[in-house]
């Protein structure tokens, strides 16, 4: 299947995967876990504080400690550990590992291993920087994924609005999110219908032409859709102002959670400052 018109199949796989990820995210966000029990604004501030602490920290041990905290939060929030390990940690490790590996040899410093010919040497500084980079990226991505998985998109938007993001931007984010799935579905159907009507294998230039034409049709459809949406908004009295209903109420548990996040973040920054 993948060999036959591989690029088209690849696009279909990417579109389907996006749907799958979004579905998983919505399902996990409905679970009753530790993070889900907190006010979305506390989740956004708290996880962002930990993310910032991981980025600011200069000590490997502190970054690793923050990673452990992120893993504990994932377990307590009923996020699938296996899925997290395969989809996030392994992918990030491979991607960042490839980037970090040459740093072992290229970073100048005190040699700890030297090749027989003496041309290659691994330095202590190289090992530290490689490990620090991998640990920091793993921690940061885990915290971001935790926020994405445990918070419905609309709650993230409402939280952003509460933090002063302009309402036009919040509206655009909300609408874009909604239409991504519609356009992804449309694009998927176009590719699928073409694939099902194609006998044999398209050569690469033909696949390229087909992909760009599908993009063109999708663009025309997008502009038509935006016109329809605009007319619908106008007919409902839209004059450029938008009001977002806010149902968020801070409870004592939320304050405790917020305090805990801020405390952990502050300690991590303090301990990891040098």
């Amino acid at each position: 299947m993948m060999k036959r018109n591989g690029a088209i199949t690849g696009t279909l796989v990417a579109l389907t995967r996006a749907f799958g990820n979004a579905l998983v995210s919505e399902q996990i966000a409905r679970h009753c876990g530790l993070l889900q029990a907190l006010d979305p604004r506390v989740r956004v501030i708290g996880l962002f504080t930990l993310l910032l602490a991981a980025t600011l920290s200069r000590r490997l041990a502190v970054v690793v400690a923050l990673f452990v905290i992120a893993v504990l939060l994932a377990l307590l929030s009923q996020v699938n550990f296996k899925s997290l390990a395969i989809r996030v940690w392994l992918v990030v490790f491979l991607f960042t590992g490839v980037i970090a590996f040459p740093a072992l040899f290229l970073t100048p410093g005190d040699p700890i291993v030297t090749s027989r010919t003496g041309t290659l040497q691994i330095t202590a500084q190289g090992v530290t920087t490689g490990l620090l980079l991998i640990a920091r990226v793993e921690t940061a991505v885990t915290l971001t994924v935790l926020l994405v998985l445990t918070t419905p998109w609309m709650h993230i938007l409402k939280s952003l609005r509460a933090f002063g993001v302009p309402q036009e931007v919040a509206m655009m984010l909300a609408m874009t999110h909604r239409y991504i799935f519609l356009l992804a579905q449309t694009a998927g159907q176009m590719f699928e219908s073409r694939q099902s009507r194609t006998v044999g294998v398209l050569d690469r230039p033909a696949q390229r032409r087909m992909t760009t034409r599908t993009g063109g049709v999708l663009l025309s459809k997008s502009v038509e859709l935006s016109n329809d949406v605009f007319l619908a908004m106008q007919s409902r009295g839209f004059r450029g102002d938008a009001r977002v209903l806010s149902e968020f109420h801070m409870r004592s548990w939320d304050y405790v959670g917020l305090l805990a996040f801020l405390l952990v973040g502050a300690i991590a920054v303090w301990v990891g400052r040098s």
């Binding site: 591989g6 088209i8 696009t11 579109l15 996006a18 962002f48 993310l51 991981a54 980025t55 600011l56 970090a100 040459p102 740093a103 290229l106 970073t107 410093g109 500084q125 190289g126 530290t128 920087t129 490689g130 620090l132 980079l133 920091r136 990226v137 921690t139 940061a140 991505v141 971001t144 926020l147 994405v148 998109w153 993230i156 036009e168 509206m171 655009m172 609408m175 874009t176 239409y179 991504i180 356009l183 694009a187 690469r204 390229r208 992909t211 760009t212 034409r213 599908t214 993009g215 999708l218 663009l219 997008s222 859709l225 935006s226 016109n227 949406v229 605009f230 908004m233 450029g240 040098s274």
Partner: protein, 359 residues
Amino acid sequence: MHIPDGYLSPSTCAVLYAAAGVGWYGALRRLKRAFMTRLIPLISVFAAFSFVLMMFNLPLPGGTTGHAIGVTIAAIVLGPSGAILAISIAIAIQALFFGDGGITTLGANCFNMAIVGSLVAYATYRVVAARAAITSRRRVVAAATAGYLAANAAAFVAAIEFGIQPIFFHDARGVPLYAPYPLSIAIPAMMIGHLAVAGIAEAVIAAGLVAYLQVADPSLLRSTCGLPVGASSTPEVVLQRSLRKLWVTVALFMLLTPLGILAGGTAWGEWSANQVNAATSWKEVSATGQNQAASSAAPDGLRRLSSLWTAPIPNYAPEFVKRPSFGYLLSAMFGVGLLMAFSLLLQRFLRSRRTAGHR
């Protein structure tokens, strides 16, 4: 090109958030002034389109595949302000909803792809396309060039961001705290892939989409084409514009005609019978004719035929004009006028014949 969290220092992230903030603010203000209520659905749907476009697997020459950013087509259809917002929104959703690209590096990613990418794409497209007609092939070439340069400019800025990390952010032992490679490694490492693959992907998708829109929906290309509204692509307008250019060129050449009198002597093979008779001229004839033996008189045929027709303005020098340069200029104007009159008569004749044929 999406920089994940952890690769850039917090100070770099803060500076790039501020830079992106300036871009967002400027774009939002400009668009608000233009069409506030139309803005939200248009930018949103276009952001969604760019997002989906980034998922397209594009087969590239050489057997590889690539993904476009979609910034070029956004800049061509929406203009730079619209593209900055649409691509920023798409990047924000990738980071906040799909976990692709970092949150602390969101400002950097938006700065590189949405702001630098949009501005480079728009400027290149406008410069290369100039005032070509909407349906001109030149616009396809302009879109491809814009796509290639935009993707590579964005990658180059990202490479600089990576490359300055070990210079500014390292501990006392010299351990780089963030991206570990200096500019000498970061720039080639980043640029090779973008020059060879990602830039081509962006160029192919931008050119393909512009070519498609030229046929299917040219109105989408009109807002950034740089041509007056409502008078952009009709064949008459294109013809008129070409004719205007032609007249300017003809006028310029007419002004330059006196340059012809700067050169001494006579053009080879253009001698009159009198010139051939003159001893000095014959030396010239002899020299340019591979030292052929001199003759005392002009050839009979030349003498006989040269008297058949006497030109009203011989040697581009009307008798009533004293200055040769002015004579040249006047002759050029006269010649062009004659040609115009002839072409107008011919045009009228052909048109009348066509009209008679239709009846």
